[in-house]
């Protein structure tokens, strides 16, 4: 299995914080590419895609949502979007990015049985934005103010608002088992 880790970080220094921890958790063969270096043909070399988060102040990815739509809309394998990655995958399918701040550990309640997590847990969030208009997604887990795990209704596309690489590595492992 081959996995593509997509960086959404505007400043390369943030990749040490948001990409490298995920890279260390994934034991499978994987490659890291900044989103501006990805092409529709190059991503076909991979079985799964993880779009990683970025710094709290980094909103550069929002300017590239059209490019992400062209890039990912037809990808058939599982996709996991983390934080900014969640905003991206949800935007591709009609959701809107909205202001919503959570910084710190928050209790996440699991609403529906799913393949990523079973019981409620504490999760590390650092975001100023979230998503709404989630008609094409099912909310699988949430804090009291934010959808935390969503899944596309017909595709193996997940969005996670929190950072699973911090204290919830098993969620990444479960995604890799899909």
């Amino acid at each position: 299995m081959s996995i593509l880790l997509v960086s959404t970080c505007e400043n390369k220094l943030s990749e040490r914080e948001f990409i490298d921890p995920i890279s260390r958790i994934i034991e499978h063969n994987h490659k890291i590419l900044h989103h501006t270096k990805c092409t529709s043909s190059s991503i076909l070399d991979f079985d799964k895609i993880i779009i990683c988060g970025t710094s709290l102040k980094d909103t550069s990815y929002i300017k590239h949502l059209d490019n992400f739509q062209k890039l990912l809309y037809d990808f058939e394998g599982p996709i996991l979007g983390i934080c900014s990655g969640m905003h991206i995958v949800c935007s591709i399918f009609g959701s809107k990015i909205t202001e919503n701040r959570e910084i710190g550990m928050f209790e996440v309640e699991v609403l529906h049985q799913n393949s990523l997590c079973k019981k409620s847990f504490q999760a590390y969030n650092i975001h100023n934005y979230s998503v709404n208009n989630l008609e094409n997604f099912t909310v699988l887990a949430k804090t009291n103010k934010t959808p935390q795990i969503v899944k596309h209704n017909n595709k193996n596309i997940f969005g996670i608002s929190f950072h699973p690489e911090v204290r919830n590595e098993n969620i990444l492992s479960n995604f890799l088992l899909l």
């Binding site: 220094l13 040490r16 914080e17 921890p21 709290l56 102040k57 710190g104 550990m105």
Partner: protein
């Protein structure tokens, strides 16, 4: 990007600084000097000698004394960051935060309030990887504090090098310590590194040690 580094003088904040300097401009160091030895947020031994490190790197250095009382430290942290913004127009802060959600959450919140970038390049780095990174990045540091069984006073002043790393990793197996000291088991002070134009020579120091807890008081040091 113009950055300030939250700098304790130890191996973690130095390594974070070195990573950050690869593609950014480091403008200043920010050091809080905690009056309390077991600060919640800030590393304490040998902190007064950070001025020599700043000089060795040719960097501006802002310092501020803090009470060491849990949440008051955060007010002081915000004040020193604000002064770095007004004095040096920094656009972001770099920290050596590694695994502490307590530390990172609070720093992230302060940077967010001040509309600054926040970079934590060591975030989630495993302890053994961190130790190897010190070696591969030529960071020379000495141990200035111990606080766990079975550390004896021979560890105070010892260099963190290939030989001591072997011993630290052995203690991870035998005593479940964090070998790079994430749980406060060891504190360190960088004496030479690639961004130093001169190295620090510690000429006089005194060990204070009892019952698996100790610190190295640096009494005289100079650049050479």
């Amino acid at each position: 990007m113009k950055l300030g580094v939250l700098f304790s003088g130890g191996k973690d904040s130095y390594l974070a600084l070195q990573y950050a300097s690869e593609e950014n401009e480091i403008i200043c160091l920010l050091t809080l000097e905690s009056k309390k030895e077991d600060s919640w947020m800030f590393h304490t031994p040998a902190i007064e000698w950070t001025k020599l490190q700043a000089e060795a790197m040719g960097l501006n250095h802002l310092t501020k004394e803090t009470s060491g009382i849990k949440e008051e430290e955060l007010d002081d942290l915000k004040i020193i960051i604000e002064s770095a913004v007004s004095k040096y127009s920094i656009e972001g802060i770099v920290t050596g935060a590694l695994a502490s959600v307590y530390q990172s959450t609070r720093i992230q919140k302060i940077c967010n309030e001040l509309n600054l970038w926040c970079f934590n390049p060591l975030w989630q780095m495993p302890q053994s990887v961190l130790l190897q990174e010190l070696i591969s990045n030529n960071v020379d540091s000495i141990i200035t504090g111990v606080a766990a069984e079975p550390f004896d006073d021979s560890w105070l002043g010892r260099s963190i090098n290939s030989s001591s790393i072997v011993d630290l990793l052995a203690l991870e197996s035998s005593h479940r310590i964090n070998p790079a000291g994430e749980g406060g088991e060891i504190e360190s002070f960088v004496v030479n590194a690639p961004l130093f134009t001169k190295s620090i020579s510690v000429v006089k120091s005194q060990k204070h040690y009892s019952n698996f807890s100790g610190r190295l008081e640096i009494q005289e040091a100079f650049l050479e």
